[in-house]
């Protein structure tokens, strides 16, 4: 799925696309915020690295997979699942991680701290 560049928001370059290994998360520091990045197929997802259940910064170290068709990452501490595209927690509908827009320009991975809800607007 192609990702649409979004106008008027601040992008931060965090790494090369080739630094990301499919299905393995990494963590990037973006303006003091820890962002977990995942590359699945050819798309890159960005979520908070902070796990609200354990209060530890570990989401990037979770296992990626799919549950009933939704792409998710499992927190490595208490194993809750978060949807990669939205940050929604599958076990507790009141909890969601922030999901961030990502784009790749000249093989560079860029992240914005604008919430993806901006994308929807």
């Amino acid at each position: 799925m192609a990702q649409m560049p979004i106008a008027n928001i601040q992008w931060t370059t965090v790494c090369s696309e080739s630094d990301l290994i499919p299905n393995l998360g990494v963590c990037a520091l973006v303006d003091g915020v820890q962002v977990a990045l995942f590359k699945v197929d050819d798309r890159i997802y960005a979520l908070d690295n902070h796990d609200p259940f354990s209060e530890a910064n570990v989401i990037s170290r979770g296992l990626v997979g799919d549950l009933e068709g939704r792409l998710v990452v499992a927190s490595p501490i208490y194993k809750q699942h978060f949807e990669l595209s939205t940050g929604q927690c599958l076990e507790d509908e009141t909890v969601a991680l922030n999901a961030y827009p990502v784009e790749v320009v000249d093989q560079k991975v860029q992240v914005s701290l604008a919430s993806v809800t901006v994308e929807a607007a």
């Binding site: 290994i21 354990s54 530890a56 490595p76």
Partner: protein, 844 residues
Amino acid sequence: MSRKETLVVVGNGMVGHRFLEKLVDAGGLERYDVVVFGEEVRPAYDRVHLSEFFSGRSADDLSMVSEGFYDQEGINLVLDEAIVNIDRESCKVETASGSIQAYDQLVLATGSYPFVPPVPGHERENCFVYRTIEDLEAIKEAARNSKVGAVVGGGLLGLEAAKALKDLGLETHVVEFAPRLMAVQVDDGGGAMLRRKIEGLGVSIHTSKNTKQIVDGEGAVHQMQFADGEVLNTDIVLFSAGIRPRDELAKSSGLEMGERGGIVIDNDCRTSDKNIYAIGECALWDGKIFGLVAPGYQMGQVVVDQLTGQGGNQFTGADMSTKLKLMGVDVASIGDAHGNTEGCLSYQLIDEEKEVYKKLVVSKNKKKVLGAVLVGEAEEYGSLLQMMLNDMRPPENPAELILPQTDGSSATGLGVAALPETAQICSCYDVSKGDLVNAVAGGCMDMGALKAETSAGTGCGGCTALVKQVLDHELTELGVEVKKDICEHFPHSRQELYHLVRVGELKSFNEVLEKHGKGRGCDICKPTIGSVLASCWNEYVLKDQHAQVQDTNDYFLGNMQKDGTYSIVPRVPGGEITPEKLITIGEVGRDYNLYTKITGGQRIDLFGARVEQLPEIWKRLVDAGFETGHAYGKSLRTVKSCVGSTWCRYGVLDSVSMAIAVEHRYRGVRSPHKVKMAVSGCTRECAEAQSKDVGVIATEKGWNLYLCGNGGMKPRHADLFATELDDETLVKYIDRFMMFYIRTADRLQRTSVWMENLEGGLDYLREVIIEDSLGICQELEDEMTYLVGTYQCEWKTTIEDPEKLKRFNHFINSDESDSNVVFVTEREQIRPATNDEKIALKQL
């Protein structure tokens, strides 16, 4: 009720104890203050499994009393104190030491005593009976200086006693008055087959032997002289010629007695005195003494109902069918085993090759099963017994019930579906099919849960196969798909996946997913298959195709803690470590400011390492000669040991060397769950091996191997699997055990739970591992040899690979550390800061 009545119980054996448990369950302590007198020095223990005392179970293991049972309010247990008199006029009992106890209700559970034939010489030294733990201790002591032992009595208990003598290493003889073994339970054909099998085990059988006298022996302590002129020289004589009720107390107090002894009871289990009950082997109902525990338990229930005012339940006799394993030989007897019913028909099967004898007795019109004898194989016991008890109609040709099927499976039997709800499945704990059905409906979905909930199958174990059939049937009925799929991505159990990987020679998660799964996988199937791949091919776990399926612990080769830091555990094989290495660990801990703690497995855990620190810390450890301890893996953790014969004055074998050898052998082997082992240098058991998956205990004659123990949340005492092994056999058995567990266990199933759910249990496991009944032992050994040969220290491999080391950074775009990892100091070491502490620290 203003005042509680006083209930006095005389006797604290199996039946007396179970009676009290039932009384407590029924709320009896609200009505009664209970005083219990036991003449032995210890509370109730399992006499049915007494011979296991000689194969390694201790007196504590045999105890039936759960901790604290007698401490509860309202039960006063007085041990080592016999009752010598009952004053029925004033309702008081008198103890041997002269104290007096008043009662409102009295229950006699005095049991029985072994009958010793009045043969001249029976009171000689080294002549024993076989009833209490004290008897066994005396026999054990005498066996030290003995070579030959003879048991008088070839019945059920006599053969048990013979097993005990055999276990003690004596040349063993059984002397029986009747012309065959187990004359009460089996017929001639069964007795002959039983004799053949037991002789095959090296026990000499002498039938039709009437012992005239016992005199000084020639080359042995005793000589037994028989009526037919033959003699037998032996060092020990063990009398096991039947039981007699312990009724002297009842007799002296004038209660009605049977002509040949026994306290007469009615259907309420009441004696001729309305305030006195009798239960178990001392009681005589309808002219019969019941020498099994199950009827005693039933009587106990009847009395509990009487005492708690529930009434209704009566004792109306008991089925004396029985199934047991005597020296490894299955023997079962059901109902009219001898075919005494008028006009009955019988069918017999004799298979001399397999040494199996089966007899079925049916009614004249072939509409009822009346009895059966099974020797050498007793699989049909459960179904035949149910058919008899529930008047179920046998097939047109009843012989089918005992004939082997041409396809090799066992005889037809009957489906559990046909059983009525009231059918008693477990006679030890009186569990009916209905009880099991309700428990399954209530959520017990596997054998472990069902046993824990209902106690079915936890007594003699004879009904286990039937319980499993009820479980499977009910799950299917409830529409609960007996689904063993590990997750939505694979329609397979872990066991099936292991097989698919092994047979298909699949080498990566993606290959397995492509061939047998769907979707992308998840945090359940990925690590499971990663573990299965490692169990089969033992490749480096961080190899590119494997890295993405590893849980974070396996991925960073450390144990993630609650704050996202990792702990580090270097391997310390057998818990043996040099001062130099201790210093290295100390220096690393100090230099990286790690929290240091000694683990339960005799090694040292270093906490609080950030992900980016792991490689440098491990470089120092590896350079100093350490290896990874796999504390993060589902694999062997430690092999704990005591110091053993090298230093300890009690040690009989070198437990440390064995522990180190075992730890080196199985280190790094990935398994369905973690595995813990231990080796003790003598039976004092300082390494606590009986709480481990694999426990090894030294004896003077070699190693005893215990399997499937567990500490932790649900402790399980390990089962004694094999005794007196040499080093080579010990390792061979552990190899086979480990690979069989790896092959067949569910995901994250410890060996203890695996064993609880293993059909056929310990006996089956022995057949597979010792007798090679499945013909797979060579395979299992080869597979383990391969794993041992391909071992590598994952940390050593990792620190030598710069590409892999790149992954050990918190940020991909910064060298900073995770600012959320904050420590405070407690008792001179770090610990993770709480949220409040973090806020306070920020404000500073």
